[in-house]
Symmetry: C2
Subunit: 263 residues, 2 copies
């Protein structure tokens, strides 16, 4: 079993990825983003995304009901259905689903973020949260019958409301259930970089044992990525490859060990 | 088995429909539109829909690739996922799918429409067509495992491309496979009207045997609706109810015989 995560950047070569996947014998599922598409759509609709900053200094996208609407259009609508269409054109029997469908990905809504507003301390609560579990029987039902699930956000919370979440976290809960050998993460970079501004500083190999130490060295988004990778190994992964989704053959490259191989 | 078709008008009471459905014991599936939402989104994105007129005088929406994108956002994205979310909030274990997913609804793309362009006769071909078959095994797999399919366009053509089609035709091919007893069609009118501009001219009952004669009396969109209803009886329906989707309890009303009952 392979989990293939396709990043949501505008330069990701989706056609190349799907073409590569059509040549794979092993069972796999796809998880995809669409953040560039979402941001463009939000701009076009005159609803540019709002970023909120917590009192502790962390920033996050404010996922109000309108942003969720835009997400549903970009992720579940346009991106998901065009990927599913492309899959069928390459003989892949894809079924596109969000975490809402059959409660495929169940999560817990965030309690709220403490922010400063007009000199006062306020709790701002949006529609975002963390995934906790997947609907394993539905996933297995589809896989056993020859379908390739193509999953994306939103997910469903404990009150059955749609919430936004990080796809890295969706991959983690999928891994808890699927216990995939290999997780491929296709991003808009050659892999993990020592210096994020230097494309030639690719880290080719990391041992899973090194991950915790590296997590301490890096900051922000990269820190969270390291943690996410470490969790995959805790749930049975034997290989995680972070590879260039912009390449001509992103999946072939990843399986051939191009990018950052953590094994 | 009941097939519930929810019209895509802006005044349809979706919350009332889903609430009603949560009280139903019989197995059912949902097919929904989103044309008002699609038109608004297309306007907001500066891509108002284009209508083309054939040399024979028939008009239709020109479904180019951009319109398909907008359709995916409106139907498969926003409307489908908000309906699925609402279903779960009412205890209905919904799975939202388009005709692309697992090739749920397979069709044939239209060959093209003959139009006059700049004094010349031209064939214009868009991404539209007619459904021919559904993926019965996938539908049954979901139903047998307690899921309620929530279906919408686009569907998939013989080249595995996404195409637009009429939801009335989707209901017809679903009926071929499901042989539902009852088909409920929820629209923005009290039912079929003798005079489409007079809401008090409701036709309360029609015998299936009368349908062909009535088809000859009416014109345009209504003629096609009559034909669509007649086909449902050819495929095993014993009752078709065309009822007001704007009511407080649209499904309860339909099952109680409000609207136009064809049985």
């Amino acid at each position: 079993m392979i989990i293939v995560k396709i990043g949501g950047g505008s330069e990701i070569n989706i056609a190349g990825i799907i073409q590569d996947l059509s040549g794979i014998d092993e069972q796999y599922i796809i998880v995809h983003g669409a953040n560039a598409l979402r941001d463009k759509l939000a701009e076009d609709l005159g609803q540019p995304k709002q970023v909120i900053t917590s009192v502790k200094g962390y920033t996050s996208v404010y996922s109000d009901e309108k942003l969720l609407d835009v997400m549903m259009m970009a992720y579940a609508g346009l991106r998901n259905k065009r990927i599913v269409e492309l899959c069928h054109q390459h003989g892949i029997n894809a079924v596109g689903l969000t975490g809402l469908d059959g409660k495929m990905v169940q999560g817990k809504r965030n309690q709220g973020i403490r922010v400063h507003r007009g000199g006062k301390l306020k709790i701002v609560r949006d529609y975002s949260g963390k995934p906790r579990a997947v609907n394993g029987p539905l996933l297995q039902l589809l896989l056993d019958n020859g379908y390739v699930p193509v999953l994306t956000v939103p997910i469903i919370d404990e009150q059955n409301a749609a919430i936004n979440t990080e796809n890295d976290d969706v991959v983690r809960v999928l891994q808890q259930t699927l216990q995939a050998d290999t997780v491929i993460n296709l991003i808009e970079a050659p892999g993990l970089l020592e210096d994020k501004d230097d494309a030639s500083s690719l880290i080719e190999n990391i041992s899973p044992l090194e991950l915790e130490a590296r997590e301490q060295q890096v900051e922000g988004r990269m820190k969270r990525k390291m943690l996410a990778v470490r969790k995959l190994f805790e749930h049975g992964a034997t290989k995680v490859v972070i590879s260039d989704g912009r390449a001509e053959h992103p999946v072939k490259d990843a399986l051939a060990g191009k990018g950052t191989v953590i094994a």
